[in-house]
Symmetry: C2
Subunit: 205 residues, 2 copies
């Protein structure tokens, strides 16, 4: 989406973009309080003080609003992971930090914003495009780290890169996918430490 | 439980053991048709033609009946796994067959006895003693295979045995635990093949 500032013709009302943002912000707050599954667009419209028809001008459905909230949520997690791995000292270190950061970000979302977590879990069940994009992000990140380790000689190079990356993503999935993390929260930090060591052993040259 | 044949005094009714078996068999059929969650002991009693009080003489609760059904179910899966690995030619081969057999047995249960699968999934959520015993079985089996591979020189010996076994069990959990398998059924066979190769790379000396 083009977000650069342009000299737009003066308009009487707020821009479409502003209204969308306003709806998403209000919906985030509303869903966080009352839950996503049980809420209708009518409830939401009433709470914001807009008509239902007006909301439908900007979003096709409740899911379309949930999709933006979910994408924002997953973007926050991505950012946390990117920050955690930024100053890693090696590919092994980067992998370790990455896996831990995914679990920390997911756990935090689960405990601090339980109802937003539920949106992400619902999204993972379908899965919504935002979750598909998130999965691609995880796969790209893992591929990048494995490639880095192969280039520095930390990791073996015999196994095809995509096979290695896919297997690692599968191993991480129960802790990275919001739908599955809720069943693996207990002892997740210890579990991912053990699994990280297993992965690093499998990557040894 | 003592199941040896003894010269018991003649009795007018069936033995307690027979009644328990009869209730479990009828309940298995009943739950398989109508589901476990929605059925009450009253429904079950009516269907079998026993009084509710009579059933309660043998089982404390619906869960106690479900627990026996679940244990039978998991025993069937264990047996399938034991058969699949019996004539393996090496520890690596045994590991590969074991992982595949768990997924095959779980998938079969899911698709062929969906309502019994639901009992096992409910049991895994708590988890019931039968599921805890099943998890110990998995852990013992994995430990045995890793130990075998260490003895034959197929696997590395530096990592503490229990650490290796625990990590492998965690990796297998999404495909072995009935509660989690339902989220991982799609592509489970390919996924476990990739994960098996990853585990075997991690075990290389």
């Amino acid at each position: 989406m083009n977000t650069s500032i342009q000299s737009a013709p003066p308009s009487r009302g707020p821009s479409d973009h502003d209204v969308r943002t306003q709806v998403v912000e209000a919906a985030t707050e509303y869903f966080a309080r009352y839950g996503y599954e049980k809420t209708t667009v009518s409830d939401l419209a009433k709470a914001i003080g807009f008509s239902k028809a007006y909301i439908y001008k900007f979003f096709d459905s409740k899911q379309a609003i949930g999709e933006v909230i979910c994408a924002n949520c997953l973007n926050g997690m991505k950012q946390a992971v990117d920050e955690a791995i930024a100053d890693a000292t090696s590919a092994s270190d980067r992998f370790r930090r990455m896996f831990r950061a995914f679990v920390d970000a997911g756990t935090q979302l689960f405990f601090e914003d339980r109802r937003l977590y539920d949106i992400a879990a619902a999204a993972a069940r379908e899965p919504w495009p935002s979750v598909q994009a998130y999965e691609r992000y995880v796969e790209d990140l893992v591929t990048r780290i494995v490639r880095e380790g192969r280039e520095t000689g930390e990791f073996e190079r015999k196994t095809p890169l995509d096979e290695t990356a896919r297997a690692i993503c599968l191993l991480m999935k129960p802790y990275v996918n919001p739908l599955l993390l809720q069943y693996n929260l207990e002892g997740a930090v210890d579990a991912t430490a053990l699994l990280t060591s297993l992965v690093l052993r499998s990557l040894a040259p």
